[in-house]
Amino acid sequence: MLPSSPPLLAFCALSFERNDRLLFERVEGAVHGGDILQVVGANGAGKTTLLRILATLLTPTQGELRWCGGLLPRARASYLAELAFLGHVPGLKPGLSPRENLRWLAGLFAQRDAIEEALAAVGLAKWFDTPCAQLSAGMQRRVALARLALTRARLWILDEPLTAIDRAGVAVVEQLFRSHLQSGGAIIFSSHQAVDLPGVKYLALTES
């Protein structure tokens, strides 16, 4: 990576106010390829809000976002082509099986066509065709994480990816993170748990 190249995602002076309550102000940061940024903060500090702003789902009260140097939302099209977002609800249809869920998502995003392999990698080999409604919260979370193994997105924004995941699952997620970072991708995620990866940077949200 050239030192002069702009960060994948840079955000500066982000403030967010809702119902006359200032949730946070002047939050800033940047991720380059290979960077991993963990957003930490107490419950209600605005972690989910910040991640939704970074994913362009919410408009900040103040501040700006840049994708590869281009100002968002103008650069939105190229941004969305390289973004994988996992919200705090996993975005799966409860009536569909893990395989069917990953298939409809594959029609919307650039994905590798290795759904069964990805599901097996997160330990769901026996559950390809069980409706997601019958899977536990942790297993549903794993289905959503399996998508990350398929996506070609360079930036992952993940809201509490480790919620409801057991210890073996956390190791699987760390492995996913590691290979994404090694291939030049970047990760921004929120969690109360520490992940066992070198070079994690932290962004602490404190109530203002």
């Binding site: 789902l57 408009t59 569909l96 069917e100 298939r103 029609g107 919307l108 650039a110 030049g184």
Partner: protein, 236 residues
């Protein structure tokens, strides 16, 4: 040193995105076919009750039939429209639709097409039978079916705009029907007029053509409007 972007992005085409979502929604409807058949049941049950309530004279029923069938088709499609974006909003799938590199209006169109295939098309296909229960003379049936095919599609498109505008407001909100009902009125007027003209022995194709024009304009505008409303709704 790694090149910043090792391979060009292979984004799925518009048709792939449309087909993936259409397939998803039809599969979900099939999994819940009991629930998906509700609008049709509603349509059939009320139609069966009308002769009991107003009396079985064929002349009176035939007079009421076009309007009754149209109003029931309207209510039937509206009844099911609550889930149009609401479920996707609750389970987080809507975030994925909004963040997809596909244009959102294409995905809205896929969602509406699925909804129309599941609610509007069965109602249209069942309408000759139900019009028969209401003693509608056979001469009015072709105009009724043609009108309902266009009309139910238009209803679904309007419902998408209403559903998108009120997506964050919670289920069973009264604002949505209030928003879309005025839009339904011209469709209802031209749809029933086409049948009435045919029954009088005239040519119903003029009102039908106007109805078709409404459908065409709505088809062009509604998906874009609904997409814009969804982006605002998810910002809430």
């Amino acid at each position: 040193m790694r090149s910043p972007n090792p391979e060009p992005e292979a984004l799925p085409s518009l048709a792939t995105g449309f087909a993936a979502l259409l397939r998803r929604d039809l599969l979900l409807a099939w999994r819940r076919r009991g629930e998906a058949a509700n609008p049709l049941w509603f349509f059939a049950m009320i139609t069966a009750l009308v002769p009991l309530a107003v009396g079985p004279e064929p002349a009176l029923l035939a007079r009421l039939a076009p309007g009754m069938v149209w109003i029931l088709a309207l209510l039937g499609t509206m009844l099911a429209a609550d889930s149009l974006f609401r479920e996707d909003y609750v389970d987080g799938a809507l975030e994925q639709l909004v963040l997809s590199p596909q244009p959102l209006w294409v995905l809205v169109l896929a969602r509406v097409t699925a909804h129309w295939l599941v609610t509007g098309v069965p109602i249209t296909l069942a309408s000759p039978l139900l019009a028969g229960w209401l003693a509608l003379p056979a001469g009015g049936v072709p105009m009724l079916v043609a009108g309902l095919a266009l009309g139910t599609l238009t209803f679904c498109l309007f419902a998408a705009v209403g559903g998108a505008l009120t997506v964050a407001l919670g289920a069973g909100n009264v604002l949505r029907p209030l928003l879309v009902l005025p839009l339904y009125v011209p469709v209802l007027i031209f749809g029933t007029a086409a049948v009435a003209r045919a029954l009088e022995g005239g040519d119903g194709s003029a009102p039908l053509a106007l109805l078709g024009a409404i459908t065409a304009v709505t088809l062009a505008i509604a998906p874009v409007a609904a997409a814009a409303a969804l982006r605002v709704g998810i910002d809430g």
